[in-house]
């Protein structure tokens, strides 16, 4: 995406950023305070894309006005014609106004390629990385007959289509056949309005002329460099940038009020998940760590990962906590949800409660029992979206690899890039994680859903400002990362979780170290134990972790001891010997007391909290 030319990062003093979500528009004020960048005020208002308002800028102005009232800084022009820029005085205007948007269903793409696990997958990765929802992915080997593919393209009304296929100089016939299929379907745009549907061709560059002849007359065809120019390498940048450009030119320009919004903004408006992906990559790069991020919303769950510098994003379009909550039930099954509910409950009643949340998506848990149910469902939504992410985040297929005899006999799928033992940080976002009444609830939801291995830090996005910071990073990376560290992330703590099968009746792990108060720690843990210790973010301690059974692995191999420096957070340090995967008894009589013990250990509900360094659960 083209960088704005009007912004000079060296003179920047204040930024107003909005995210126009499908239900609410969230505005934050970012200011330079005593030489440091801080997020100072926030406001929100209902999004106004739909009737009766049909103008997104009304919601933006309402949210900005709330920030103005709270901060005492005048932000909205008197005639309501926009945000006051540049800053006139410390109490009037901001230097820059920026925005992201996912209103109106976000950016919806159909992708196509020749081979499903190769060019179609590269196209999918480019689309997801740009922040799009992939409605369908077509390939010659996707097990659908051509007329079925054509019918499907006709039914879908995407914002644009991304077509890949063939390495440069590779297959011509198959790529052209896909284009002929698309041309026969005569796809139409979602928003209509007499515009031709944008089709981006990012495949074998030698068939560009054929594409022009076949797709040119029925679409607004854009040809960009190949997403898979050679078998061994992807080049997703040009396709991703073109998606962003077309998002601005076509999708945004046609959505109600966006013409005005684009004129107000000092940087191109980004799709919300695209902006979140940007900030995740920035953090991973700057700290040199592997990061897993999640944004669990009402309708969808986005998962981001950066492992060894490779970024992947997936969207689980029908896993969410309100609109899609019944789909979590359908996909996970009732027993999977029930296994996290720490009290007995009637199954029919639980199904009806979940159904009622789907049809009344804006309601919130009022009783503790309702909260516990909602958090049980969240664990499954997070877990299922993570499984989808791991399946997608794999090394490039089709690349010749050296295989041993053992590999040839092992019938396994492609190994995922998401290696939990190598993961350094998990960042959670979305209402159920960011707004859980106690931070310990968020921490255990993520520990249960992701089952981190070895030593992993956990954090949540305090008030959902990652999208704002993502777009800010395109104009001022330093400001974005400073605010991310200081105001966006709420550090929960560290989880230590060894893996490997152990004998349950013997001690498994010895933990030794020096506590923040200077006293010595020496404790032994058995399989199944979960214990939490208070440790603040600014307290760092060194621990010696010694397996007491030679199958136990902390990352250095079975039976090998490790020494680690760990920091805490608002929750603390969790030592989790529940095993991987976390297996629970099927009978409620055994399961419920176990869950209650974990709840108590983490201090999640009711009286009580963290155990002390001596004793505990």
């Amino acid at each position: 995406m083209a960088a704005p030319t009007t912004v000079d990062p060296t003179t920047l003093r204040s930024v107003l950023a909005t995210d126009c979500g499908s239900t609410t528009t969230k505005a934050i004020l970012i200011e330079k305070v005593d030489g440091a960048w801080r997020q100072t005020w926030r406001g929100e208002a209902p999004t106004t894309v739909e009737a009766p308002f049909e103008d997104v800028t009304r919601g933006v102005l309402n949210a900005a006005q709330e920030v103005a009232e709270l901060s005492g800084r005048k932000l909205v022009k008197d005639d309501g014609s926009g945000v006051i820029t540049p800053q006139q005085s410390p109490t009037e205007g901001v230097d820059v106004y920026i925005s992201t948007s996912s209103a109106g269903g976000g950016l919806q793409l159909v992708v196509g390629g020749v081979v499903r696990s190769m060019s179609a997958e590269s196209a999918q990765r480019a689309a997801l990385g740009a922040g799009a929802i992939v409605m369908d992915a077509f390939a010659t080997n996707d097990k659908r007959r051509p007329h079925e593919q054509i019918e499907r393209v006709r039914q879908l009304r995407p914002d644009m289509i991304l077509l890949a296929g063939g390495i440069d100089g590779g297959t011509r016939k198959h790529v052209v056949a896909q284009a002929e299929m698309l041309a026969a379907a005569r796809p139409r745009t979602r928003l209509g309005g007499g515009f031709d549907l944008p089709i981006i061709f990012a495949g074998n560059q030698e068939v560009a002329e054929d594409m022009q002849r076949i797709l040119g007359p029925i679409s607004d065809l854009q040809i960009v460099p190949n997403v898979r120019p050679v078998m061994e390498r992807e080049d997703l940048g040009p396709a991703r940038d073109k998606i962003h450009d077309l998002f601005m030119e076509h999708v945004m320009a046609q959505a109600p009020g966006y013409g005005k919004l684009m004129a107000w903004a000092d940087a191109p408006i980004m799709p919300t998940p695209g902006a979140v992906g940007l900030i995740m990559q920035t953090i991973a790069r700057q700290r040199g760590i592997n990061v897993l991020g999640v944004d669990i919303g009402g309708a969808t769950t986005d998962v981001f990962s950066v492992f060894d510098g490779i970024f992947n994003r997936t969207v689980s379009a029908n896993l969410g906590m309100s609109y899609s909550v019944s789909n979590v039930l359908a996909e996970a099954g009732l027993p999977a949800i029930l296994r996290w509910v720490p009290f007995p409950i009637d199954e029919k009643q639980l199904r009806n409660r979940i159904g009622n949340k789907m049809i009344r998506p804006t309601t919130i848990p009022e009783t503790l029992e309702e909260l516990k149910i909602e958090q049980a469902i969240a664990r499954e939504a997070l877990r299922l979206a993570f499984i989808q992410h791991k399946e997608f985040a794999v090394a490039l297929k089709g690349v010749q690899q050296e295989r041993t005899i053992a590999d040839a006999f092992r019938q396994v799928g492609q190994e995922t890039l998401v290696q939990m033992m190598k993961l350094d940080l998990i960042v959670g976002s979305g209402g159920v994680l960011s707004h859980a009444p106690r931070r310990s609830q968020s921490m255990r939801m993520m520990m249960d859903a992701y089952a981190p291995e070895g030593v992993t830090e956990l954090a949540v996005d305090s008030i959902f400002m990652m999208p704002h910071l993502g777009v800010l990073s395109t104009i001022h990376e330093e400001a974005a990362t400073e605010v991310f560290e200081k105001d966006c992330l709420v550090w929960l703590g560290t989880c230590i979780a060894p893996i490997g099968e152990c004998k349950p009746d013997r001690e498994a792990l010895r933990v030794q170290g020096t506590l923040p108060d200077g006293s010595a720690l020496d404790e032994r843990f058995s399989l199944g134990q979960l214990r939490l210790y208070p440790l603040e973010r600014d307290e760092q301690i060194e621990l010696q972790l010694t397996p007491l059974q030679n199958t136990l692995d902390l990352g250095e191999g079975p039976g090998k001891p490790i020494t680690v420096k760990v920091r805490g957070g608002q929750v603390g340090l969790a030592i989790d010997l529940r095993g991987r995967p976390i297996v629970m008894p099927e009978s409620p009589e055994q399961r419920v007391p176990l869950l209650q013990a974990w709840v108590e250990a983490m201090g999640e509900y009711g009286p009580g909290g963290q155990s002390r360094w001596t004793g505990g659960h």
């Binding site: 026969a184 009022e366 009783t367 909260l371």
Partner: protein, 392 residues
């Protein structure tokens, strides 16, 4: 903080209602502004393009795609009959001829000399859109459809299954908390839209389908019976295309919940009249609620399109419905709207309202503080200007 409340479902005895009726793609509109239309009258029609079938003719003939054209007997745009020969090779001395026959009746859409594919397009499929309600055409969308306006009773439900149906309304329940069972339904209910009470069993619903009942309106229904009924779970509330045999409208939610007395009374009042109902539901951006519409056909309706007023916020005295446990399905009145957020049992902070429920345990009114997001207003009377419910 911005005003947080859930816009309510409309339960209105008399409102000016508009229905936007559109074709799935451009076509011909058969009415003009000012026309009086009947609910079953066709207001617009078009033809959807027929299905498209690609066939690799070069492979069938055993020739190179680049050599295909000389063997084609038909060209792009030609009409073909199923089984008709469209391409043929001469063979050797009249032997070993290869042919390709049309697999559908339609037209040749394209012939590719790169892939050797011939794409057929089957005959177009005619589509018509009716007026759905009796009323007056107040706006025409050129080539797309029109807006029909009428004075009507409007009851919106929260969830539905099945599409549009027009039939007479008939009371099946005698009170709002009546349970409807299999034995309650018989052949006398054929072709009617039946009004139930708090709950309808799966057996009763199946019986209704057997007897050709057109629609069923109920307070509650079991969520897991939907899977029983459809064979799949409804994971996201986007419905309307189900082939159920009838349209189902749930007014309150899942479980056994008495129909709101105002809703029941209103449907009772209009029983015997012909109604238009639609089970289509979309609880996402661009929300669509299932509905029951009964028009006042003898009444003069404005021929100008009425502008819908902006939704009004919550006020003291409004009738509201609890929409989350532990108050789910109970109807009450707003008593106060405290400004400061309150800490709930969950330890979350939320803005609340004080509601007086008239149906307390021992018949006494009961007061409680509820999060504002856990109540829904019941929009009974139109705002100062006539309210217009804009449909699809």
């Amino acid at each position: 903080m911005a005003a947080i409340f859930t816009p309510g479902l409309k339960v209105q005895d008399h409102t000016i209602l508009q229905k936007d009726r559109r074709l799935p793609m451009r076509g011909e509109v058969a009415v003009k502004v000012g026309d009086t239309v009947r609910s079953d009258q066709v207001i617009a029609r078009t033809e959807l393009p027929g299905k498209v079938y690609p066939v690799n003719v070069a492979n069938q003939l055993g020739v190179d795609p680049g050599q295909l054209m000389p063997y084609m007997l038909k060209k792009v745009g030609d009409r073909v009959e199923e089984g008709e020969i469209i391409a043929r090779t001469p063979g050797f001395f009249g032997f070993f001829k290869a042919e390709s026959k049309a697999i559908v009746t339609g037209t040749i859409e394209s012939i590719s000399i790169v892939t050797g594919q011939v794409i057929y397009q089957a005959m177009p499929v005619p589509v018509e859109v009716d007026a759905y309600i009796n009323g007056t055409v107040v706006e025409v969308h050129e080539g797309e459809g029109c807006v029909v306006q009428a004075a009507a009773t409007l009851v919106q439900g929260i969830f539905g299954l099945g599409g549009e149906v027009q039939a007479p309304l008939a009371m099946l329940a005698t009170h709002p908390d009546q349970l409807i069972e299999e034995s309650d339904i018989g052949p006398q209910h054929r072709g009617q839209i039946l009004i139930g009470g708090s709950f309808v069993t799966i057996g009763a619903l199946r019986r209704a389908v057997e007897h050709g009942v057109a629609g069923l309106v109920t307070g509650g229904f079991d969520y897991d019976e939907i899977k029983e009924l459809l064979g799949y779970e409804v994971g996201v509330a986007i419905t309307g295309g189900e082939k159920l045999g009838l349209s189902l409208i749930v007014t309150e939610g899942f479980g056994r919940i008495p129909m709101a007395p105002a809703t029941f009374a209103l449907l009772q009042k209009r029983a015997g009249r012909r109604a238009s109902i639609n089970g289509a539901t979309q609880i996402r951006a661009g929300v669509i609620r299932p509905e029951v519409v009964v028009t006042y056909d003898d009444e003069a309706v404005p021929t100008e399109k009425v502008t819908p007023p902006e939704p009004k916020g919550l006020s003291i005295g409004d009738t509201v419905r609890g929409i989350r446990t532990p108050w789910f399905g109970r109807i009450g009145t707003v008593v106060s709207l405290p400004v400061e957020p309150v800490v709930l049992e969950t330890e979350s902070k939320a803005r609340v309202m004080e509601v007086e429920f008239r149906d307390g345990a021992d018949g006494q009114p009961e007061r409680a503080m509820l999060p504002r997001s856990n109540v829904e207003t019941i929009e009974r009377e139109p705002a100062s200007a006539p309210t217009a419910g804009v449909g699809r």
